[in-house]
C-alpha cells in the first residue's frame, strides 16, 4: 500500500481565502494510501519545505502531493526538497488549486469541492509513479558552424575563444559573406572591410578553428551531442597545401571577361580567381564552367587547350584533375548562419509567390540597380574604384532615385514581411552619394521609415538634413527609358501630387530572402522553416536562437531579415548556448521520455512514423545463438522530447511515456 503525504498550501490568502484548506487536507487524509495530510500557510517557503522533508523521514513517505500553485511555478522547488530528504524527485507532484481553482471561483463550497477533486486526481496518479533517474548522454564538445559571414565568424570566434574546437564550413571560396561586399556600414559609416577583415584573419589563424572554405554540408546524422556530418570539399583545382597566394595564375589567365559574382555583375573576373583582394583563405578557385581548358575537355578536344595558370605557377599547385573530396566530422552542436540573398526581381521566379516586378526594368535597364550593386560602385575596391558611375555609359549620375520596399511588405506580389535593413541602407546610400558627388541629388521614395536601432533615427535625420536627400512618401508605378535617362513615375502622398522624375540612375531596395538551397539544408538538419525559407526558431520571444531540433541553433539573417549588430548579437547568443551545452561532458536530461516494452512490441513502427523528432530507432532482438527474432522499436534517449504521441498511437500499448503512463492517467480519470 502506498504511503502518500499530502500538503495543502494556503498560499497566504491566495488559496486560503476561497478554499477551505484544512477541510481539503482532512478529506485527503481519509483516502486509502494517504498516511499524512496537512495544510500550511506557505509550502514553498523554507519552513514549508522543511515540513515536507520532515514528513518524508518521519512517515517513510513514498509519494508527496502538494496542493498549491501551478506546477509551472514550483514543481522544481518541491522536487528538490523531496530529493534532499531522500525521496526520488519524480515521486513528488503538484495539484494546481490556485490558478485552476481558488483564483477563478468565488463560491467557497464549490471551490473547496473542486480542490478536493483536483488533489485526488494527483493522489491517485502518484500511486503509479515510478522512481526515475535523470538520463546522461555523452556530448562531443566540438561545434560546427555552417556559413562564414559575419554571424558565422562571430559564433566561431566566440566558441573557439571559449576553449572549444569549431569547424567553420563556407560554401564560397572565401569567408566574409555579404558584409565583405559592403562599402560602409550604418550607422557608423565604418568601412566594412576594415572592421570585417581582422575578424576573418582571426578565424583563419585561430588554433581551435578548422576553416573549410569552398565546402558544403552533404549530410547530417545523429542527435544533440552526437552529430556526424559529412562535408563535401569542392575542387578548387588547386592544391591548397602548395598554393602561397602569389596571384600569378590570376594575372595570366586569358579569360578576363567573366561577370564577377562579388561585383554583382558590374565588374569582371578571370576563370581562375580570388573573389576579392582580402579573401580568406587567399587561395584562388578555378571556375571550370568558364575555363577554356575544361570547355575543351568537355568538347573532347585531345590537345590541352590553355593551361596558362599551371605554366606560370611557381609552386606547381594547379591540379586540373582534382575531384571533390569528402570528410566526416563528429560534433556536438551545429549553428546555422547561412545569411541572405537579395531578391532578384527582374527574372522569372521558381515559386508562385515571387512574381517579379517587370515594371521596374530591373535586368533590362542597365542603370536600374539594387542595393548591393550600389555598394560595389561606392566601394573603393569596386569595379569603378569607388566612383559612382552609371553602368551603361560610365558617366557620373547627377540625380539618383532610390526606391524602398521593392518586393517587401507586399501581400499581392513578393513577400509580405519587412526586410528591416533597407530604410537604413538607403539613407546610407544617399549619404555616400552626397559625399562622392557633391552636386548630386538623391531622391528617396518611401512608405515608412523604419529606423529602430541605436542611433538609427539620428542617422536618417542626417541623410535628410546634412546630405539633403529628398524623401517623398509614395510609391513608383513604373521606370521607363527616356533617352539617356530613366523616367520615374511616382506619387508624393503627403502633398497628393503625382511626381515624374528623369533620373540618371535608380537604386532599388529589394527584399532580403534566405540563401538558395536553404530548404534542402534545413531538411538535412531536420530543422523547420517558414514559407519563405527562413529557419524557424524554437520560440519567437524566449528562445530566438534555438530551433526545435535539440543541438541545432540559428544566427543571423537565415532566420529573418536582420542587420549586422543584431546578427552579431545573435551569433554570440548561439555561442553561449553551445558553450553551456558543452559545459559538461554529459548532457543531463529529465527522464520523462518514452520507453519500449521489448516483450510486447511487435515492430509495427507506427510510433516511428508519428514521432516528430525521429527518436524511434530499430533494435534487433536476437536469441542466444545470435539468430534474429524480431526487429522492434527503441527510443533514443537523447532525442525523445516526451510528447507521448507514440504511446497513444501504439496498437499494442508497448511504448510508455514515463511520468504520464496509461496507468497513471487512468488512475486520475478513475478518481472522478
Amino acid at each position: 500500500m502506498s504511503r502518500i503525504g499530502v500538503f495543502i498550501c494556503h498560499c497566504g490568502e491566495n488559496i486560503g481565502r476561497t478554499v477551505d484548506c484544512a477541510q481539503v487536507a482532512q478529506a485527503m487524509g481519509e483516502l486509502p494510501g494517504v498516511v499524512h495530510s496537512v495544510d500550511y500557510k506557505y509550502m514553498c517557503s523554507d519552513p514549508g519545505q522543511a515540513l515536507i522533508k520532515q514528513a518524508i523521514k518521519e512517515h517513510n513517505l513514498d509519494g508527496v502531493v502538494v496542493g498549491a500553485c501551478s506546477p509551472h511555478m514550483h514543481e522544481k522547488t518541491f522536487r528538490k526538497a523531496a530529493a534532499s530528504a531522500g525521496l526520488n524527485p519524480y515521486l513528488c507532484e503538484m495539484a494546481n488549486i490556485r490558478e485552476h481553482c481558488s483564483w477563478i471561483h468565488e463560491d467557497r463550497a464549490e471551490a473547496t469541492e473542486k480542490a478536493k477533486g483536483l488533489v485526488r486526481f494527483i493522489v491517485e496518479k502518484i500511486k503509479y509513479n515510478r522512481p526515475l533517474s535523470n538520463i546522461f548522454i555523452p556530448v562531443n564538445r566540438r561545434a560546427l558552424v555552417i556559413g562564414g559571414g559575419i554571424a558565422g565568424i562571430q559564433a566561431a570566434l566566440d566558441i573557439a575563444d571559449g576553449g572549444r574546437e569549431v569547424i567553420l564550413v563556407e560554401k564560397e571560396s572565401s569567408i566574409g559573406g555579404h558584409m565583405s561586399q559592403l562599402s560602409e556600414t550604418f550607422p557608423t559609416l565604418d568601412c566594412s572591410q576594415c572592421i570585417l577583415t581582422p575578424r576573418m584573419v582571426e578565424v583563419a589563424q585561430h588554433p581551435r578553428i578548422k576553416l573549410l572554405a569552398y565546402s558544403e554540408v552533404e549530410s547530417v546524422d545523429g542527435y544533440i551531442g552526437n552529430f556526424e556530418v559529412k562535408i563535401r570539399q569542392k575542387a578548387r583545382s588547386i592544391d591548397v597545401s602548395k598554393c602561397n597566394g602569389c596571384g600569378e595564375c590570376t594575372k595570366n589567365c586569358p579569360n578576363k571577361k567573366i561577370p564577377s559574382e562579388f561585383e554583382q555583375g558590374l565588374g569582371f573576373r578571370t576563370a581562375i580567381y580570388v573573389p576579392f583582394p582580402q579573401a580568406v583563405p587567399n587561395i584562388p578557385v578555378l571556375d571550370r564552367d568558364n575555363c577554356a581548358l575544361f570547355k575543351g575537355r568537355a568538347k573532347g578536344v585531345k590537345k590541352q587547350v590553355c593551361g596558362k595558370c599551371a605554366t606560370v605557377c611557381g609552386r606547381r599547385a594547379i591540379d586540373f584533375d582534382q575531384q571533390d573530396s569528402f570528410i566526416t566530422e563528429k560534433v556536438g552542436a551545429i549553428i546555422v548562419a547561412t545569411g541572405y540573398q537579395l531578391y532578384w526581381i527582374g527574372k522569372e521566379q521558381e515559386s508562385e509567390i515571387l512574381h517579379g516586378y517587370g515594371e521596374y526594368g530591373y535586368g533590362t535597364i542597365p542603370d536600374v540597380i539594387d542595393g548591393l550593386q550600389f555598394e560595389r560602385l561606392a566601394s573603393a575596391s569596386g569595379p569603378t574604384g569607388g566612383k559612382i558611375l552609371r553602368p551603361s555609359d560610365g558617366k557620373e549620375p547627377k540625380k539618383i532615385v532610390f526606391l524602398q520596399c521593392i518586393g517587401s511588405r507586399d501581400r499581392a506580389k513578393g513577400m509580405e514581411y519587412c526586410s528591416k535593413i533597407c530604410c537604413m541602407y538607403v539613407a546610407k546610400h544617399t549619404m555616400l552619394y552626397h559625399h562622392k558627388v557633391h552636386d548630386g541629388k538623391a531622391i528617396v521614395f518611401y512608405m515608412d521609415i523604419r529606423a529602430g536601432g541605436k542611433g538609427y533615427d539620428e542617422f536618417v535625420r542626417r541623410a535628410i538634413e546634412e546630405s539633403h536627400a529628398l524623401y517623398l512618401r509614395g510609391r513608383v508605378s513604373s521606370l521607363t527609358r527616356n533617352g539617356d535617362t530613366i523616367r520615374v513615375q511616382g506619387v508624393d502622398t503627403l502633398s497628393g501630387e503625382p511626381v515624374s522624375i528623369d533620373a540618371d540612375m535608380v537604386v532599388l531596395a529589394t527584399a532580403m530572402r534566405p540563401q538558395p538551397g536553404i530548404t534542402s539544408l534545413a531538411q538535412k538538419l531536420s530543422v523547420s522553416y517558414d514559407l519563405h525559407g527562413f529557419l524557424n526558431e524554437a520560440h519567437p520571444k524566449l528562445r530566438p536562437v534555438e530551433t526545435n531540433t535539440a543541438g541545432i541553433f540559428v544566427a543571423g539573417a537565415c532566420q529573418a531579415p536582420r542587420d549586422i549588430p543584431d546578427s552579431v548579437a545573435m551569433a554570440s547568443a548561439t555561442a553561449s548556448k553551445v558553450l553551456g551545452l558543452f559545459s559538461n561532458e554529459q548532457l543531463e536530461r529529465e527522464p520523462l521520455i518514452a520507453r519500449v516494452d521489448r516483450q510486447t512490441c511487435t515492430g509495427c513502427f507506427h510510433c516511428e512514423r508519428v514521432c516528430p523528432y525521429g527518436a524511434v530507432e530499430r533494435f534487433e532482438v536476437k536469441d542466444r545463438k545470435g539468430n534474429l527474432i524480431k526487429v522492434i522499436a527503441e527510443v533514443n534517449q537523447g532525442v525523445c522530447q516526451g510528447c507521448g504521441t507514440c504511446q497513444a498511437t501504439c496498437p499494442s500499448k508497448s511504448i510508455e511515456l514515463d511520468g504520464f503512463t496509461d496507468e497513471q492517467i487512468f488512475a486520475a480519470v478513475n478518481a472522478l
Binding site: 501551478s70 506546477p71 509551472h72 494546481n96 490556485r98 490558478e99 485552476h100 481553482c101 483564483w103 477563478i104 471561483h105 468565488e106 463560491d107 464549490e110 471551490a111 469541492e113 473542486k114 477533486g117 483536483l118 486526481f121 523547420s528 526545435n548 520523462l592 508519428v610 516528430p612 523528432y613 522530447q641 516526451g642 510528447c643 507521448g644 504521441t645 504511446q647 497513444a648 498511437t649 511515456l657 511520468g659 504520464f660 496509461d662 492517467i665 487512468f666 486520475a668 480519470v669 478513475n670 472522478l672
Partner: protein
Amino acid sequence: MSVPAKEKASSFEPNIVAFVCNWCTYTGADLAGTSRLNMAPNVRIIRLPCTGRIDTLFILKAFERGADGVIVSGCHPADCHYTAGNYHARRRFAVFRELMEFMGVDPQRITFSWVSASEGGKWAEVVNSTTEKVRELGPFVSYPRVAHAQVK
C-alpha cells in the same frame, strides 16, 4: 416525464473533465487564473505533455466514471511544442467522433479546442460555454444502460 426537460437540466451541475496539453492550454489556464477570470467550477483539468498523448480510451473512461462532458484542448495548429502532436490528436479525434456516435454518445458532449498559452480569456470562454452546453444536454447516461435499453 412530468418535469420539462429544460427546467430539469438547468439545476444540474455537470461534471466535465479537460485533457489539456502542458505547454499551451495548461499555461493558458494558468494565465486565466492569474488574471482572476471567473468561470464555472465544473471543469477539472488533467495535465498531459501533449494532446498527441491522448488515447481515445481516456475519454471513454471519463464518461464511464461519471463525466458528463469532456474537453480536449491543445496548441494551435503549427504551434505544437512537440511540432506535430496536436495534428495527431486532431486526426484521432476525427475518427473517434464516429466511434462515439456508434456507441450512442452524443458527440456534442466533447469539445475540442485550441487554446494557446496567451489565451487565458479564450480558456475561460471554452469552460463556460462547454459547461452550459453540457448542462443543456443533461447528465450522461452510461453506455451499458443505453445498450440494454435497446436490447429490451
